[in-house]
């Protein structure tokens, strides 16, 4: 679990480096395609990517693409095919499906357009680099945090519930897998509730399913919300019903409701990823590969860069250096700054 908690360490700004060998004209034309535009999380990635372009206007010109809904695999593929047809200098891609975009990505790579993957791995070997949270490790980290919180409340046995956003989301599956395995292997004193609750990314539904499951199962002591919407609903339910002394809640990703509940003690911990980092470092990687001839495989044999995840609890929520990580839009409004990690 060492790697999972690694993150925002200080470094020198990745500024005036040497110019590598490249035939592409500066600023580079980099397309960032996200899973969905109508989501806070992917808006954060967009903020990161745009921040890079703002920091280095002479290096890159960033274009944002993405279907409005995450489920629009079909539209995502069409979009990417079209992006590839336009021959940009590089592509940073967060793909909602591991298979759908493979042909287009391979096509791009074959044409010499580097593709930096973010968040979700594809079932292909042809890509430039992959920046993502290790979601299995993140799930395990969530389990650790949950147990820590439950033990602090003196709950050493009982049922643990998982609320998921929607079936078929790959990253969600990984988190839940990491969480469940950690619970089953390491914390056998707790029992996993047999059914996963789905909320279709609808907070109201998350609230409802929590309410009903809780009233039928008085022995639930812990809840894991697989993303911000499910965590939002679960923690709000706990806040509403004043169950904070009985039930511990941990969730993935942040949103304003969760932050509020964290401060109130209704949510014990958030496991946050670095979506802005996907964007910022993804574009950075694209630039380095194209303009400076950076060799990914030499530094990362499996081409994987773990962007880490961070456990946020009441203790560190106000730490100044974490503010822009918790809410990347602060960067956009210029209300906060952050130092970007130097993985490469």
């Amino acid at each position: 679990e060492e790697s999972a908690s690694a993150s925002a360490s200080a470094s020198e700004p990745a500024g005036s480096d040497n110019q590598g060998g490249s035939d592409a004209e500066l600023p580079l034309d980099v397309v960032v395609q996200v899973k969905a535009t109508e989501s806070d999380f992917w808006q954060y990635m967009i903020v990161g990517a745009e921040q890079y372009a703002k920091d280095y206007p002479d290096r890159v010109k960033v274009t944002i693409q993405g279907p409005t809904k995450e489920l629009d695999y079909d539209k995502a593929v069409s979009l990417l095919e079209q992006v590839v047809a336009n021959k940009p200098d590089a592509i940073v891609l967060a793909s909602s499906s591991s298979d759908a975009t493979v042909p287009a990505v391979e096509d791009a790579m074959d044409q010499g357009i580097p593709v930096v993957l973010a968040d979700n791995m594809l079932n292909t070997e042809k890509y430039t680099a992959f920046l993502a949270t290790d979601n299995i490790a993140g799930g395990a980290l969530a389990a650790d945090a949950l147990v820590e919180g439950m033990e602090a409340k003196g709950k050493t046995s009982g049922k643990v519930l998982v609320v998921s956003s929607s079936a078929g989301s790959l990253v969600m599956e990984a988190r839940i897998k990491g969480f469940t395995e950690q619970m089953k292997n390491k914390y056998t004193q707790y029992e996993m509730y047999p059914e996963i609750l789905y909320c279709e990314n609808d907070v109201a539904k998350a609230l409802d399913v929590c309410a009903q499951t809780f009233s039928a199962n008085k022995d639930i002591v812990g809840v894991f919300g697989g993303n911000n919407m499910s965590g939002n609903g679960a923690s709000r339910y706990i806040a509403q019903e004043k169950l904070a002394d009985e039930v511990t809640c941990v969730c993935y990703d942040s949103d304003p409701e969760e932050i509020k509940n964290l401060r109130n003690g209704d949510l014990y911990a958030m496991i946050i990823q670095d979506p802005a980092g996907f964007g910022y470092k993804g574009v950075d990687m694209a630039y380095k590969v194209v303009a400076e001839g950076y060799d990914v495989e030499a530094n990362f044999p499996d081409k994987y860069i773990d962007t880490g995840c961070t456990k946020i609890t009441a203790e560190n929520i106000d730490a100044p250096e974490l503010q822009a990580l918790i809410d990347p839009t602060l960067l956009k409004d210029g209300k906060a700054t952050r130092e970007w990690p130097t993985y490469f």
Partner: protein, 329 residues
């Protein structure tokens, strides 16, 4: 003639009230019996009944407006996005994140959201009446436009820091009933009175049944249609405001998961006819409770979420099948 008179007066008030909703009332009772037998301790507990009402309220309120549109011979597929728009509008105007202490007092913000809902309904009504668009098309177009406008205007981001006086609405109770459910009951009664006792209510039926006849009978099609869709817009807006209070944040995707389909299903399960001119508030009320009861009970007895959803789909079909075909035998 006298025979018939004695027959009608002989009917008790309750049997009059529930005439036509018999079959679905049976379904509701059957569901209650099944769930009570399996997990009566939880299902019938006061907490759960409260929760059932609370979780039905949003759909229940939306369905009231939807019923009016269906009676008027159309549907309002923009209901879900109107919910979202109202939630975002009320959040925008009250959030501490936008302005210290909110831009306007909570009450005013709610009013603005309701006005926005009415405005959306008005546009729908005009498109349908003056533009001659089929309601299905007009409102599906509006659905897309409103939903994406929410994303565009509010940058697809959650609005937080809503005042507690607003979010507390969802937590409080009146006479032991959650405020949301209470509002739903009141609106249901208002809608019932409107449909039963006002010329506007009757006009909705006339227009839905035969618009040309209604026009030649001196009923203003424009006023009736705009009124019906505005009523639906207002109901959706109220539902959106309450939902927003319940969620504690303005979430751009509020109301996007099949909210209009569920409202239509509630109305139709409750006996409304998609070809217009038919529908009842009590039926819709029961219809909404049926749909939520399956979900509520199913989760309580620990059913697989997907299996449960499958049953919801099947129940919608079966309930309507039952309703449409029980009359003729």
């Amino acid at each position: 003639m006298s025979e018939e008179k004695s027959k009608t007066t002989g009917k008790s008030l309750t049997s009059k009230l529930f005439s036509g909703v018999g079959p679905i009332l049976l379904i509701l009772i059957a569901l209650f019996v099944v769930f009570s037998v399996i997990r009566g301790d939880v299902f019938l507990s006061g907490d759960n009944i409260q929760d059932l009402l609370l979780s039905t309220a949003v759909n229940g309120i939306t369905a009231l407006g939807m019923t009016c549109c269906i009676i008027c011979g159309g549907v309002d597929l923009a209901a879900g996005s109107t919910i979202g728009m109202a939630a975002m509008v009320v959040s925008y105007f009250t959030s501490g994140q936008i302005a210290e202490g909110g831009l306007v007092p909570v009450f005013v913000a709610m009013l603005i959201a309701v006005v926005v809902g009415a405005l959306i309904g008005f546009i729908n009504g005009i498109l349908i009446n003056d533009g001659g668009l089929p309601p299905f098309i007009a409102t599906i177009g509006m659905q897309i436009i409103i939903r994406q406008s929410i994303n565009l205007i509010f940058e697809a981001r959650i609005i937080a820091q809503l005042p507690t006086e607003f979010t507390d609405i969802a937590l409080n109770t009146v006479f032991g009933i959650p405020v949301m459910a209470f509002v739903w009951f009141v609106l249901a009664i208002i809608t019932w009175l409107m449909i039963k006792f006002t010329p506007f209510g009757r006009n909705i039926f006339a227009v839905g049944s035969n618009a040309e006849t209604a026009r030649l009978s001196g009923i203003s099609l424009r006023a009736t249609r705009c009124g019906a869709w505005m009523y639906s817009g207002v109901m959706s807006a109220i539902a959106g405001i309450l939902l927003c209070a319940r969620l504690g944040n303005g979430i751009p995707s509020t109301g996007s998961e099949n909210y209009e389909f569920m409202a239509i299903a509630s109305s139709v399960v409750g006996g409304a006819s998609m070809s217009g001119g038919e529908g009842s508030v009590i039926g819709t009320f029961i219809g909404a409770i049926i749909l939520q009861t399956i979900r509520n009970g199913g989760i309580i007895i620990g059913m697989n979420a997907h299996l449960l959803e499958m049953i919801v789909g099947a129940i919608i079909i079966i309930a309507v099948l039952f309703d449409k075909n029980s009359g003729s035998n």
